[in-house]
Assembly symmetry: C2
Homo-oligomer: 164 residues x 2
């Protein structure tokens, strides 16, 4: 049973554990794999973000942030980022957070949601977002320096929220 | 005769004048047209940016910033933003700053340059970037709330710097 709720101050340690585990692999996010706890939390828990956690049997297994993708005249498009603990992969945590974030974005009055940088080799993520109604609207050639050493493409993905 | 140089502290007033004039029109940048001087300068003169100005007959007529578009594993792709004083349009200031920024990005070792949000109705900008070798690699449907009231598309534009 998965419960998704707004993060509280006491979740900070769990959020960093997940962030660190995900980012240090260097295969899905552009963050420096050696980013400090302080810099990571300053980014993820920025006052302009809403931060949520997914809880399963008393453990935090995922976290996501939701915000406007642009200021002022672009602030009707939401942006979000999701991280699932490597230990909790394959349990539908990403999908549940994705669905939660779309509802939340609708509730907040956003007209669309955009991901700026989905690493093309992260096929499970690309597939999940497509299932949730996102389309690849752009391809950034070689924009991600994968931990394998290769430069791989990143996708811009977009979904209207007009149909709810 | 146009001279492009790094901005200094004494250029701050001119930079704000240009920023304010451009942004208040609400037709090219997502910034809130009523953004404060303080917020505008905190963004434009952020310590992670290199900021340049274009000087013509002793007057600052344009400014641009150059930075990495992503952290860590995406930091090989540059990002830049340009503003030309409405009084100095049609004098080639944008083009000169564009060329200057591409050289500067090469010099700094960037492998490519990306613009995240070129407003599709800003046809002179789209044309200029295409002339300078950029391609539209993505279209963000209705992502810009134009001052006319319409939601118009924004483009993601990209250019490799491999060929110099």
């Amino acid at each position: 049973m998965l419960r998704i709720r707004e993060a509280s101050a006491s979740d900070t340690g769990s959020i960093w554990d997940i962030f660190h585990a995900v980012v240090s692999l260097g295969d899905t996010y552009a963050f420096d794999p050696k980013i400090s706890r302080e810099d990571a939390l300053a980014y993820w828990l920025h006052p302009a973000n809403r931060c949520f956690v997914a809880e399963r049997e008393g453990h935090i297994v995922g976290t996501y942030i939701l915000k406007a993708n642009q200021p002022g005249l672009g602030a009707h498009v939401a942006n979000a980022a999701y991280m699932v603990s490597p230990d909790a992969r394959g349990l539908g945590v990403g999908r549940a957070m994705g669905e939660h974030s779309l509802k939340e974005a609708c509730r907040l009055g956003f007209r669309a949601m955009q991901f700026n940088f989905v690493v093309s080799t992260n096929e499970s993520a690309v597939r999940l977002w497509q299932r949730l109604g996102f389309t690849i609207v752009g391809t950034l050639p070689g924009a991600f320096h994968h931990s394998s050493g290769r430069y791989v493409d990143a996708y811009v993905m977009f979904r209207s929220l007009a149909e709810g």
